[in-house]
Amino acid sequence: MPQEKTNTLLIKTPEGIIFSILLAGPVTRFLAWTVDLAVIFVASSVVGAMLGIFGIVSIDFAHALSILSYFLISIGYGILAEWYWRGQTIGKRLLRLRVMDVHGLRLQFSQIMIRNLMRFVDSLPAFYALGGVSCLLSRHAQRLGDFAANTIVVRTPQIAHPDLKQLVSGKYNSLRDYPHLVARLRQKVTPQEAGIALQSLLRRDSLSPRARVELFEQIASHFRSIVEFPDEATYGITDEQYVRNIVDLLFNVSHHKKRRKPRRSAQVVKQGSVK
């Protein structure tokens, strides 16, 4: 049975861990190539102008150097950049792409050379048409050069830690007053449901006001259907605040535990003062 084309490549390590690698599509790669083309053009122009100095000695020699420098830059740029930056050129760095071995192993120099030399065929008949078609049809979005060199081009998006403090920020959570319901909620909610609630809060500012209201209304009603808190705990709070409180309960256990300690010490102080 033919395997389906996806935008991720799954690799299973001997430790039993499966990790996925995001594959880059032809459009992003084409944009990166355009940037690289501009870099080659600028570098060739600068080097050509510098080599023009040799025209004082011999114009013939200067012309020859200019031809050779353009050839070497156009072929060598991709090879050297990908070797030095471990699978990246300037265009790929800007577009957050990286060339990798298809098995997730260390990229070898011969692989880099082959995939770059194969550009002669991939660029046929013009504008990387053959390479683009191959990229679209290939299961791992490989152009012919990648195929011959056993390489893939992956996306390396910027990784940011979720700012949970921004979401919960130590505000009073009326739902915490019902620990038995909190325990039931934590037991019943799946990681996927929790993830949806967290992501909706993290991305809430990118939503239009109407969509934001509708989204949090749906999420809140879903969580209400899982565990129903008493009316006095939810009275007067919006759906968004409700979801925020749910996320606080699900992801912020330490906050919950930390809050208990001062209460105990406060009781001790109170008892002491009574004495």
Partner: protein
């Protein structure tokens, strides 16, 4: 169940950061060596981060942490599980006198095939011109070759001084770059299961055959040999070697009779392809100089006997180099028993 994400991140972050720092050093400083203790620590961090990834996959659906850990594991995995030999320090002389000719001989069948295809093209071009002189206009793409050979010879032999003064270096650079591009193309076309390489070599042979027969029929054989020999004895074998590389690639793609996967077959020949094409590039640099500085000069500026003699010496040296160089070294070392590198 859902883990306490914040506590989890705070507890494990320092291990992730430590792994990230080690990876940066390993990746950015290829010459950097790490000692046994550092290797153990690196392995521990890799396993710990792997366990964290497994935990977060099972207990939480937080995608950003998931992706962050995956990116660390991807990088560490490549370094820990890579068992292919690291590239040796660059040794150009050893590579040129041993690796290159050995690689050529290892794939001698592909070279023979390349030679046969070019020879077929040569015969076709020669026969086409000898039976139908009008075919010359279609077969020969260069304007200076389409005229009468005797007229060209008379014109070239009129020049008594350095008629190429001021353009020799430019010409040499152009020959080098153009021929190298054609050779890379011949190798790269191997990806079309060798069909593209075959067509390219055949068409090259057709042009060569047409020119040869055209000059031979015009009784200008001496001029032809003196013109083509000095650079042709290196340039033509170089293109044949590029075709050889193309057929090596094609053979790996087809994989007839091989019981290993396509990826493994391609991995096995990758270094050979690079060796062949780099050797071809060096040969074409030499041929470019010779074509510009010797081949384009004719009698009375340069005697034909000198040019032909020069070409003969080159041919002998090249044949000796490709067939003999590096043989002793190979015998000294034990033959490789493993047909395929371990993966």
């Amino acid at each position: 169940m859902i883990i306490d994400l914040q506590k989890f991140i705070e507890g494990e972050k320092r291990y992730w950061k430590e792994l990230e720092r080690m990876l940066d050093v390993i990746e950015n400083e290829p010459a950097h060596r790490i000692n046994v203790e550092q290797v153990k620590r690196f392995h521990y961090l890799y396993q710990r981060t792997s366990a964290d990834l497994a935990k977060i996959m099972t207990f939480s659906s937080e995608p950003e942490i998931h992706r962050y850990l995956e990116s660390l594991i991807v990088r560490a995995y490549g370094n820990i599980h890579e068992i292919r030999k690291k590239a040796h320090r660059l040794s150009p002389l050893h590579w040129f006198f041993n690796t290159f000719p050995q690689t050529f001989r290892r794939h001698s069948r592909a070279f023979c095939f390349s030679l046969i295809i070019t020879f077929c093209g040569f015969l076709f071009g020669g026969l086409a011109v000898s039976f139908d002189p009008d075919a010359k206009e279609i077969i020969l793409p260069f304007a200076h070759l389409q005229g009468d050979p005797s007229e060209r010879v008379a014109h070239e032999e009129k020049a008594e001084d350095d008629h190429l003064q001021g353009i020799k270096m430019t010409g040499a650079a152009w020959y080098m770059t153009h021929n190298t591009k054609v050779s890379i193309f011949a190798m790269a076309l191997g990806i079309t299961w060798g069909i593209g390489t075959l067509i390219l070599l055949f068409s090259n042979g057709v042009i060569l055959g047409a020119v040869t027969l055209d000059y031979v029929l015009a009784h200008e054989t001496e001029f032809l040999v003196a013109w083509l020999f000095p650079h042709g004895v290196v340039e033509i074998p170089a293109v044949l070697l590029a075709g050889q590389a193309g057929f090596v690639l094609a053979y790996a793609l087809i994989g007839k009779g091989e019981r290993v996967s396509l990826r493994m077959r391609l991995r096995k020949i990758s270094k050979d392809l690079i060796t062949l094409i780099c050797g071809v590039a060096l040969m074409l640099i030499w041929a470019g100089f010779v074509e510009s500085f010797i081949s384009q000069y004719h009698e009375p500026v340069l005697p034909y006997t000198f040019k032909i003699g020069f070409g003969v010496v080159e041919l002998i040296v090249l044949t000796f180099f490709l067939t003999v160089s590096g043989r002793n070294l190979r015998r000294k070392h034990a033959p490789r028993k493993d047909k395929y590198p371990p993966h």
